[in-house]
Symmetry: C2
């Protein structure tokens, strides 16, 4: 089942997407809902981010090739993380499918994509075992963890390198039936595949992250966990379009525009 | 004016506190409100955190003596930050005035307080000058940025060292008339002053942080910015009570309890 969040006129609602038809609901998938008898066509609405997260978690380095590329860029030895330490991103940076990423006018050239699986938490959980961890998951969506590498190296935190407004595209919807087994993440730059990897080839998997986080942190409905990316990115330029596709979920597409260009 | 958020029975509301009397409102200070004609006594309600932040920003190292203490602890030279790079904390960790900080059973002995001024944003702002920056501030409250120093050193992020459940006491209320000039932050351990400093003696002030953040980030009503602490903390033990007082705002008090002790 696909949960979609969309605007039509001045109203933003959740609905269930089947093919190209949306069945609107009253309420939301986190706190309860009732299906209405209406029908809306996908082409007649504007997609919104599938949720505004309660807390926006991000695994950061969680695929081996990406860790190697990061080490290469910084001129250091590649060291794989030895434990699942979750990080954070910020809601101000979220944009929906088909909205533009605005590169700040003073940003450098090293604007990079990171295509990621996003876990959407549906139930409150604390102290959960790995075996039971996935029971709290409502579904999965897709994220693009856009990064400005000069600021990432220069600044003490990720505040503008990863959290400048529009740097966190997320969508297009939440897929509740996603099976990670055999899934592929494919990143396309202006229609051409630029990188692809096995979505499940994580250093620490979804169940492990949830279980470990929950030993110290209560997870709540509406929390999201971005699971990291593999490989590297070319420099993205004004006018480029980046698509992140994950088989079994869909494709998140955004154009990049440099402010003042 | 003091904005208070409180529970009475099963209802959580905002109110305006005068002396020990609360005048409840319908709505909230961020999106609009109407004052009711009721009156409730402070002693008859339970204080809640003054708000659940939209985004939870934290300056981290922003007072000189604290930077020196951190450097000493890590055996490195003290280097003052050269630019205002904002960081993040997480909502799961928030607790109110008089709620208990629960030290996880497997935490080390180095449990430290950090008493901080908290800025509460009341209006949406982007690209604001330092001269106009404070216009977006609704008021100020108090935070205790509780930290577990072994995890802070060991982990790749601050997820459990600073964001374990209950590690972020905030309150007791939002003071809209606070003047930082001459204000003192005083931290008391079991009733004895253990550290005190000039609240305004920041490396980067409130207006500078807001202006700089807003060049890249849209600030929204309900965002909070924790402004950092000065000095150091003794190890806080099971049963200890920590009070963070800021003159002109009030006092935030919390007891520390070790899980399983």
């Amino acid at each position: 089942m696909k949960w979609i969040r969309y605007s039509c006129g001045n109203t933003t609602s959740y609905g269930i997407l089947t093919g190209t038809t949306i069945q609107p609901v009253v309420g939301d998938p986190f706190h309860g809902y009732e299906v209405t008898s209406k029908q809306v066509e996908l082409k007649d609405v504007t997609l919104e981010v599938p949720l505004i997260p309660r807390t926006f978690y991000a695994a950061g380095m969680n695929y081996a090739q990406h860790v190697k590329e990061v080490a290469l860029r910084h001129g250091i030895d590649a060291t794989l993380p030895t434990q699942a330490d979750i990080g954070y991103r910020a809601n101000n940076a979220l944009i929906a499918h088909d909205e533009d990423v605005i590169i700040p006018a003073d940003a450098g050239e090293k604007i990079h994509y990171e295509g990621e699986l996003v876990v959407v938490v549906g139930r409150k959980v604390k102290n959960v075992t790995e075996a039971d961890a996935l029971d709290c998951v409502l579904g999965y969506t897709i994220g693009n963890d856009v990064s400005e590498r000069d600021w990432q190296k220069l600044d003490r935190t990720f505040w503008r390198s990863k959290n400048s407004d529009t740097f966190k595209p997320m969508g297009p919807w939440i897929e509740t039936e996603f099976d990670i087994t055999g899934a592929r993440t494919e990143i396309r730059l202006n229609g051409q595949v630029s990188y692809a990897f096995d979505t499940a080839a994580m250093i620490f998997g979804v169940a492990h992250f949830i279980s470990r986080m929950s030993q110290y942190i209560t997870l709540y409905p509406g929390d999201v966990i971005w699971m990291g990316t593999d490989g590297s990115s070319p420099n993205i330029r004004h006018g480029d379009t980046v698509e992140v596709g994950i088989s079994g979920i869909g494709t998140l597409r955004n154009r990049f525009v440099r402010a003042g260009a």
